[in-house]
Amino acid sequence: MSLPDKTGHFGEFGGRFLPETLISLHEELTEVYAAARKDPAFRKEFTHYLKEYAGRPTNLYLAERLSAQLKTLKVYLKREDLLHTGAHKINNTLGQVLLAKRMGKTRIIAETGAGQHGVATATASALMGLKCVIYMGEEDTHRQSLNVFRMKLLGAEVVPVTSGSRTLKDAMNEAIRDWVTNVRDTFYIIGSVAGSHPYPMMVRDFQSVIGREARRQFRALENNRLPDYVVACVGGGSNAMGIFHPFYKDARVNLIGVEAAGKGLKSGEHSAPLAIGEVGVLHGSKSNLMQTADGQIQVAHSIAAGLDYPGVGPEHAYYRQTGRAEYVSVNDEEALRGLKLLSAAEGIIPALETAHAVAYLPKLAKRVKGRKTVILCLSGRGDKDVNAIKDML
């Protein structure tokens, strides 16, 4: 059975929990996307931009020095950091902006945490000549001021969000308020495998190019075998779902998602809803969610602005519940060590988000028996974080 089902559910997760004003739009988008998916012209155009503009395929690079240090792991890096704009986010924004054009929308909005999705959306909008407005939590505009400047250069309007906790979830609230108001001419490019049906499916499909390439490349390099592990960081979970999904049916491939444990799971200041496992409804879908005893949404914490979100895409909740993927977490300090590890071992500075996945590798190395192969999704590069972390290291 392929998921989600017709009503957009992954088991008990997902669905469409939205104000009525947005329901018909989601119904229309579901139909438009289903048609586009089958339309060779759409696929050709999407593939063209991925290749010629974004720089796909990305390399699957054998990290020899890192592997030597880890001893028990042979690590391949899926180099999404080499894409135009420096992260995997562009895969999805190119797909969605083409859909926006197909639907005749003239205005693009998006939320952003670390700013990578905002930059990728502003980029795709500039490419297509569409007006673009990005909502970003005020706190994140300070943490990621370089990306704010990039978005403005790309012609986008950046709106600092001062409501609630002033981070990613509030930016998403504000983007939804804009969407409800301007639903007729505006397309909301959601940056993660979150939101209401069809978004989690659509973003997964657009990002699955990561896993399809990685699977093919790995088999070519490793004598037609499959990797033992695929590891990726999970905030909303788009890079992870993008690399996991094409391995879904390869039951022997262990999928590991790494959440942000922030200041520690017990501190309550983290961004690891999958580790806690409570179920709730936020931003249009049912999934694992950080919440209080009274059902209020908790404020998440992570050193990585892009992981700083109390929810997670519904398909990850499904993978967790069914045991298809394992979810672990790495705290702020460990993530910083991960960043240093990869920078020194391979000459690649990863994004703080990605550094969480890197930081799990030494733990995995201790866990495995014999020598195992790993693909790590190197979802983004770390230039954007250098300013913010220089005082911490």
Binding site: P19, E20, S24, V279, K286
Partner: protein, 264 residues
């Protein structure tokens, strides 16, 4: 037949329209809310929506967002709101509906929540992020408890979808006047009258209009088409204006009386 149904029956046979008022429970505090409810009743309000504060009110404009933040800062919880409704029920029979986002209900447990709400004396639930397609469990429990489930129609609701919403809704249908969030507006789009007329062709259930309405002229005008008119942010703005003053309650009562007057 609960208090909401009886109210519409009474109004219909008198040839009148309903005035529905929204206030956020616990803004500025629960004690004031307990006084505001009977004051609104005296001011001519027929049905009261009590807003349950939520951390992420994504369908609300600034007025209700900040009211929600103030109420949460007061330590308002689900249980405290049930206790408030229980106390109110000792002195008034005015229909009370809770307007709230879905997560606190889901987290509490749909059936358990409905049972607790019914026991407290709640007559209806209005949940802007829960369309009928996702409301199966809640709806079944609410039907058994004779609690109304108010669903929404919007200017973007297609003709194809209207019968589905009409079928699932009870108490009344909440017609959203404009594409946007809650909050007082100077103008309500004229097209909404035609849209309400279309809704009334597919259902006999009362259709009330809300979002943006803040002036007596708007109330008078929209009541020509709808079965009821809902005002929220304008009343909250008035509450904010007088918060901290000894005469907050009578001031709000006087203000709301000017809004209900066109329907009397």
């Amino acid at each position: 037949m609960n208090r909401i149904d009886r109210t519409f029956k009474r109004l219909r046979s008198a040839g009148k329209k309903a005035f529905v008022a929204f206030i956020t429970a616990g803004d500025p505090d629960l004690a004031t809310t307990a006084e505001l409810v009977p004051a609104l009743e005296r001011a001519g309000v027929d049905i009261i929506e009590l807003g349950v504060p939520f951390s992420d009110p994504l369908a609300d404009g600034k007025t209700i967002q900040t009211a929600s933040e103030r109420a949460l800062a007061q330590g308002v919880t689900t249980e405290k709101i049930f206790q408030l409704v229980k106390r109110l029920r000792q002195k008034t029979d005015i229909p009370l509906a809770l307007m709230m986002y879905y997560n606190p209900i889901f987290h509490y447990g749909d059936a358990k929540y409905v049972a607790a709400a019914a026991a407290a004396g709640v007559d209806g639930l209005i949940i802007p992020d829960l369309p009928p397609e996702e409301a199966g469990l809640l709806k079944a429990a609410a039907d058994r408890a004779d609690i109304s489930t108010v669903f929404f129609m919007a200017p973007t609701t297609t003709a194809r979808r209207m019968p589905l919403i009409a079928r699932h809704a009870s108490g009344f249908i909440y017609f959203v006047s404009l594409t946007g969030v809650t909050g007082a507006r100077a103008q309500i789009p004229a097209a909404v009258k035609k849209q309400i007329a279309a809704a009334k062709k597919v259902t006999d259930k009362p259709v009330c209009i809300g979002f943006g309405i803040s002036r007596p002229e708007q109330v008078r005008d929209l009541a020509k088409t709808a079965d009821g008119v809902i005002v929220g942010s304008a009343i909250i703005n008035e509450i904010v204006r007088h918060t901290g003053k000894a005469d907050l309650v009578p001031r709000v009562e006087r203000f709301v009386k000017t809004l209900t007057a066109p329907l009397k």
